[in-house]
Symmetry: none
Subunit: 223 residues, 4 copies
DNA sequence: TATGAATGAGTATTCATTCAT
DNA sequence: GATGAATGAATACTCATTCAT
């Protein structure tokens, strides 16, 4: 799997700032690492895809954002498709980490699932959320599509496993793990659709509300 | 409100048949109604968008499916964008109907919501599901985008109202109606993503499983 | 084998005229056949390739010559490569015909070879000569390259066969058929290089001089 | 006349070795002459042009072969065009030498011509053969094209002169010197086309076969 | 009604070339 | 001597759209 190149912490920090000065602006001042520039390219792409969609974003758009010329992008990335792919990877990596962490720990399965879903929601609300969720399979070549499918499947399986563990340890009530995983993922993924327009709540708040719904259900609880 | 151009009854009927013979094939025999042909165009578009995505589908593709030439499409539809818009309308109309019906009726709000969600899920699993859910706002002109947003908002508001009614009549436990509506819609909309590949369950079964999850929640119920 | 689409008779006729009016110039006047236009496209390409080389010729160049826009070319031809391929076919077809005719006939093999070489030389001097001879294998896709190789090989084999027949019937003296075929073909193909600049002699005259050299050799003959 | 930059002796030597280690590999060990490196650049270019054609060869390709970066090439050569030009010069120089030598000597003209043609054939079969023969005039700037034409013309004139001398001294039978020179050159130049694929015979063998054909002709000789 | 023919605008991609280091 | 980084110019190809017939 391609290394997760964009630092998630940086991501959060940067989101607060209104403008992200392109690393090219001060060429000689910041003798920045090539990797940093590559990350900037990928992030700019993610933002553009998020804002206008993959097909409505031209490489010229991305280059203009970075105040660079188009061929420069090719210095860092093989082609437009790879740009999308890298955005996807950057987005899904924290999710994978969340589910990896959820496998261990002494808590019951429902508790561990909750923790993973919280981080999941935050990833979806990041710059890369759109790419992770809305990018069309059809826009990728066969080999990259396979990669993407595998990664998505990994998440799906991890979620199902936690559900099964919850059924076993009694922390989760009767349910079909597969359908439940689809429902949970769907609700969370959908955040990528509306969060762009409606940022009235933080990702954490949204996640909390969602988790509460999933755990308690609509039907009133006597307890 | 834009006219609902695809007859939902016809839609249901046709779904059963394995092949949808193009109305042009027997040009002179069936002097069919212009409306029927228009519907066929829109349905063919929906299928193609569903299969390949909006941007990866050319008008030539759609025309070829119908065994017609490209300019013919323009006889029935103003442009590609409108094709997408009509598909959206065809998809969302049954959902609107479902929520209209849900307003009346003697049952408690949770029961009425459940009924609406069942029909919602079935609409998402239809040919038009993809267009309703995955079509990008960016691919529509301002005026059409406004239309779409209004329709989507109508659904959203209807769902929230039912939730509030449930809170009031006691059939639904404490929850944030807005977040809950987002979660419900997300889970259901997401069906459009995976239903294409995984049709192991019928739309009704999926809906039932989802509704059960939403109603009961993950936490085991003592009752 | 792809059909030979350019009428060789037309080709000869047209060569005499100084200017080849594009069929588009008088759109309504000449309701010309699509095939004719396609031929015009291919011929224009051949001329351009001949004059500037394949890589130095842009589709815009060809389109401009025809007073058409670039996409129009794509209406008649799949891509630039196919343009080259068609030119090649148009060029080699008369040569194939010449060697087909040379197989039959009561004359001795050397006489039949002479007749074929005369027609060969004329083909090389035509508009399509360059494409036939100078087009690089590397500019074609695998499948088309295979086609081209097969056709070239057919000519080569036919020439060798005539040489062997000449050895057998005594009309040709001792020689290595393979090397001799290479030498003959080379001398004739080379015409495509210099004929553009030096048209002091007609193709027939050149061919006659070449054949005389090949037949008699440099060494003086006592007879 | 442009300096002959690639040492022909070196050329011959190197051809025997299986691998041509780039002079850069052992930077500090061999503090080699700048000229040697330049020669290596030109030879690498010739090989690449030969294998893939001029336009299908990027400077990156050549640089990669030499395990150098692209700008380094510019240290040795002004631009891509000059690379082609130098290859041409490297190829034609031995041919010029051959014809210079052929002017003197006590033998009759046919004998002297034969000797020159043998060396000609060997030059065509060298790494530089393709560049000498197949390089398109159109790929060179005006000034370089003029240079190339002059050199080619020199060879042509030398060949014609030998033919005329042969006509005069009786060693060559009646023929048109110009056409005959074209035929001879064409047959030999064509070797560059097929020798890459078919190396079943050495350059010397090919040349011998060709010369035999040219001298004796196809018609059987009574003597 | 339907189509053949044509086009304009756009877009990804390549590559020779430059220059500061 | 050599390179990393960047660019400008060019070019093949696509596709929605139009219009005369």
């Amino acid at each position: 799997m391609p290394a997760m190149s964009v630092n998630p912490v940086t991501v959060q920090r940067r989101e607060a700032k209104p403008s992200h000065p392109s690393p090219w602006r001060s060429r000689r001042k910041a003798r920045a690492d090539r990797g940093l520039k590559r990350d900037a390219v990928i992030r700019a792409a993610a933002r553009a895809f998020n804002a206008r969609g993959y097909h409505n974003t031209s490489l010229d758009d991305i280059a203009a954002t970075l105040e660079v010329t188009k061929p420069t992008l090719y210095y860092y990335v093989a082609n437009k498709e790879q740009l999308l792919f890298e955005c996807f990877c950057a987005g899904i990596e924290p999710v994978r980490a969340a589910f990896r962490d959820a496998r261990a720990g002494g808590a019951d399965a429902r508790t561990r699932l909750r923790a993973a879903l919280l981080r999941y929601a935050q990833a979806i609300a990041s710059d890369f959320g759109w790419c992770m969720v809305r990018a069309e399979d059809q826009d990728l070549s066969d080999s990259m599509r396979a990669h993407v499918k595998a990664l998505k499947s990994e998440i799906d399986q991890a979620m199902r496993r936690l559900l099964r563990e919850g059924l076993a340890d009694g922390s989760i009530g009767a349910c079909d793990p597969k359908m439940t995983a689809f429902a949970l993922a769907g609700a969370l993924n959908w955040i990528a659709h509306w969060y762009r327009d409606d940022q009235s709540q933080s990702a954490a708040q949204i996640a909390a509300a969602f988790v509460a719904l999933f755990e308690n259900g609509l039907k009133p609880r006597t307890t």
